[in-house]
Symmetry: C3
Subunit: 466 residues, 3 copies
């Protein structure tokens, strides 16, 4: 299924250039500075349970498409929080994937799955109802073998470093276990404090209590609350973290006086704060986090603009992160201004901004990143982590921001097997883009080589301080 | 003028693939599930009057471009509602088209006209001031011949089914006449209730009175009003309708309690309701229509986001639909939520959403359609019904929603002769897109064949239940 | 560095077509109807000071990228208004450009600089730290030669006419000096009244006093203020102006009654008018300017949607126009309506609208320009004046507005040496786009020739009445 020239330009001369560029980056180690793998996998190194768990039931890209085509989430083994029955036979789940596999034609999910099936399990025939059982058997048997355990796959994938994403209250026990194990794989945490920063987060007040407990700070006072963050960031940093991550509904930032921030904090920790206060508090906290980043050197990531849990029925029955998050229109120029007014000119600070709204690439984000020393553009995110998505990203940002205000690729995934597939797509897409610039004589091939390595490896490593 | 490879990719290898795909779909019957042809044409089967009427005076794509270039609407034979004189000699109108024909270079209108001129009338030289009279004569003579009558053209176009768009108050007499005639052409109505749903529609209160009269229901009460809709939908369905259509300024939906809806209804049928109430009523009615669709099986189409009659001078002098409708920014994620909260998970319901705002493709519509079982993406609409418009549609929606959450092409036209031209453009554009996926080894050619047939024929037929 | 086929399509057959088209327009004179060159250059015809001044310190495209990569503005010789020291050695500035030259890979700035270096100074090796001094020396020596003086370059660039942009209070002394000199170069002013139209402009009230002084009108009364504008416009027109230009934060227009406009004027000339009044006044003035254009024949340009001086630190230390202007979301359909309601149907009026928000191309601007006789689409502006920016512009506007509702290219630059480079990029990009239409058999090559000439030369000349 995997043609060696896949995703490269079709014009023969341009394809030849792209091949040469790709040959130079294909084998580079994977730097994965942002993602959602489970550190427990690498700590325990257990066998992955079965093909359905590995590829369907835990991958919201996969089951959201199946759901859109009329497949109930129960039928692909997603367990409801309402206790309702769901499919327990992984082979049945697998057959449902096979039955609807054509729905993925033209999607990145299809590229990732085909890549995994062929490179990991030697399956060269496209998944279909006819071969579903065979594929299932091959994968299921393989998973029992030592070379398919998490650490072995990590090494096989040639991962130089991978960052997980961890709540501020996480005890990082699995990261500790990995470190204590002597296994040399570099698995580092990322400080993601949404649960103690967003007053709209479920259990916010309880989370603050836990934060106080963990940090030994008075998290009910503004200064204590900030001190608690500083301690937790230090704890994460001591466990290898080089970055924080912030998932907010909007990109709003604020820079209040201490007195105003104190008063706001008092309002949002009281029961039922109004939405304006919640938004203002999240906004203020982005600026506070930037201030801490300037002190402790953690790179700051802002992932803004997703309407989480848009489908209340799915949320009620299956919980969060069930494929029902939808991007929304977003504004950055005014929203980021308070933060940039204060810290945008700091060369020692790195703020990486992501978007789900492509209309902001050329209009807002490339012009901002092409001016502010502290600002960098994150990789095409989530729905945009695709061949055409990457092409548009480069087409819409390069002319204003260049390549060196971007930070390479990140896979942002909890689907472990898709990691090499995703990096491979990104490397091919970037080589295709560079080959087009070379074929149009905008850059020469020597520069292309340097850029291809930077996009595949160097920029991520440098920007995330890995 | 019509090169056999037109609109196919320029890279020779990719073009060869596209040719093969296109050869497989070129001759498929036309399924036209949404459009604005006049059922009277097929009922009466009269001769079309003259070339100017057929191609200029009745086609707002054509006369809006001429108007933008300084040609008064009077000069192309558009009759003013103010009684002012307009050009009565169709040959003069035709000459004006010829004189400005270069203004259409690069537009889909030019593709449609050239296609019609060559395939219907054998005119292979591009229209120009020099050949205008010759073209006029050839077309005018041809129109007198039996094979250019509406039913003959319908058959020649290989139309399997065509839907017209009809007001809720329409008596469907022409559809009845067609059915009674024994002619086998399938011409079905579509329930378009804007005039009795939108309190801002001219004559809204009179329209409600007519609705009451037609349905025998008390359309002045909320429950009677809903019952009247149900009766009219049943009447349309009995005449072959499989869909309703809703043209709203925004995509707002609402899901009010019965009491609140009743109170709102009372306010909007009173004189001069405020704009907030009008908008809320339209929003509520989309949800009511979805509820009825779930009962009666009509597919629901939402065409939102056009600023109608933007030019008051043109509206005053020439009326509605005079080429002065302009797209506006639109938001779907929050707007559709009340409707989707209630019905988005219904597999038995099909809601097809159209947009004029391409920034919503990858940001909002593809993610929504790639999750909700009830939601499908409509074809590129109106200004976007073009070669590049179709390419962008596929590029911006496929990676998130796939192909099977889209519903094929619809021509959406009142320009009868352009129907095969438009479907031909769509088939070529989709084959070009698929050929590029095949050439990049994202899908294989066998899948491409299946997809090409689905996009050209199968998806429309299935989605619209034809 | 400059390959003869640069920026042309990569497919060999399409490239061959593009080459033929380009050969036909490559040598056409430059018509530059909108830009920011300094008329003093042509009046005095002095030697340009040094390579750093010419290419770095005065070009905000260049130093904004350097700044984003961590180079302080002082280090590239930008003089602070706070009196702080800045680099005075132009060779050091030049070396900093060379050191960071790779940051420009893929940007239009790189294309412009390479073009200037090679065609003007014979430098065929890409700028790098290794050759920085050599490049510096070659350029510095060349600048001393007579053929590198402003008038000689103007002639060498084959400029048929160039418009500068001049404040309403400008005495146009340099334009007068040019006229008096007998030198035949056509350098004309453009009426840019922002400083006396925008109540938020620094020194607005003083500017009004100066306007009164210059015009002899009572600029403190609404009618006197309008009369003053009319006189200044006549003064500009007498010095060759054919256009006005309006740089507003939004595209808002208004059409108030005389009484309401009078009252508004009284409010905005009082101290500290509120932002709503400022915005409404700017909006009203666009309509007033259109009214004057209809009388005096000046073409009206609207450049809306830039958030000026976004970075307060940079503004405080270095002033305006320091590379910190950022585009914002913009709305045209409702914003332009008051102006279009009044004047949109006037064939004798030309209003050219520019945008920094590409989402408005297909959604708003092409549909508006494809209907209103008075409206034309300006060239891709500022950040969008790039190869991909131009391709997107044509792809997103042509199908709805055609080519003849656009007005050709303008270079919009104060970087004199970049003018031929920019026009060359535009000609190549347009020939590439046309070649693709020809290769796809959408237009034929004869039409392509006519269109290529129109886009490179004819449309700008006609639209700007040059």
């Amino acid at each position: 299924m995997l043609h060696e020239d896949r995703l490269l330009p079709t014009d023969p001369a341009t394809r030849a250039i792209a091949r040469r560029l790709y040959a130079g980056v294909q084998g580079l180690p994977i730097v994965s500075p942002h993602g959602h793998t489970d550190p427990r996998w690498f700590a325990e190194n257990h066998v992955f349970p079965d093909p359905a768990q590995l590829f369907v039931t835990t991958d919201h890209y996969v089951f959201r498409m199946l759901y859109s085509q009329g497949v109930p989430l129960e039928d692909v083994g997603v367990r409801g929080i309402d206790g309702a029955a769901s499919e327990v036979d992984p082979r049945q789940v697998w057959r449902r994937l096979a039955e609807h596999y054509r729905a993925f034609a033209g999607t990145p999910t299809r590229l990732w799955l085909d890549y995994s099936f062929e490179t990991l399990f030697g399956l060269t025939e496209r998944l279909s109802p006819d071969n579903a059982d065979h594929h299932y058997d091959v994968i299921a048997e393989s998973l029992q073998r030592p070379e398919f355990r998490p650490r072995a796959m990590f090494e096989r994938f040639n991962i130089e470093a991978i960052a997980t994403t961890d709540g501020a209250l996480d005890d990082l026990r699995w990261h500790e276990r990995i470190a204590a194990s002597g296994w040399p794989g570099r698995v580092i945490p990322t400080y993601r404090p949404d649960a103690v920063v967003d007053p709209g987060f479920p259990g916010f007040r309880d989370n603050l209590a836990a934060l106080a407990e963990l940090s030994g700070e008075d998290a009910a006072s503004w200064s204590g609350y900030l001190a608690a963050h500083r301690k937790r960031r230090a704890f994460f940093k001591a466990h290898g973290a080089t970055a924080s991550d912030h998932g907010h509904p909007s990109a709003a930032t604020a820079d209040l006086s201490t007195a105003a921030a104190q008063a706001l904090f008092a309002r949002v920790i009281a029961p039922n704060p109004c939405e304006e206060d919640r938004e203002l508090f999240r906004a203020q906290m982005l600026t506070e986090m930037a201030a801490m980043s300037l002190d402790d050197g953690l790179v700051m990531q802002i992932h803004a603009g997703s309407f989480r849990n848009h489908n209340p029925l799915v949320a009620r029955r299956f919980g969060r992160d069930m494929g029902a998050d939808i991007p929304t229109q977003i504004e950055y120029v005014r929203a980021l201004k308070p933060l940039l007014d204060r810290f945008g000119n700091e060369k020692a600070l790195t703020i990486i901004v992501f978007t789900l709204d492509e209309s902001t690439y050329s209009r807002e984000l490339a012009p901002l990143a092409g001016h502010y020393p502290a600002l960098r553009l994150g990789a095409p995110w989530w729905f945009l982590d695709s061949v055409d998505g990457m092409r548009r990203y480069r087409q819409l940002t390069t002319e204003t921001a260049g390549f060196y205000n971007t930070v390479g690729f990140n896979d942002d995934t909890r689907a472990f097997c898709s990691i090499p597939a995703r990096h491979d797509v990104a490397r091919r897409a970037d080589c295709a883009f560079l080959a087009e610039l070379i074929a149009a004589h905008q850059i020469d091939e020597t520069e292309g080589w340097e850029l291809a390595r930077a996009l595949a490896y160097g920029l991520a490593k440098a920007a995330y301080r890995l």
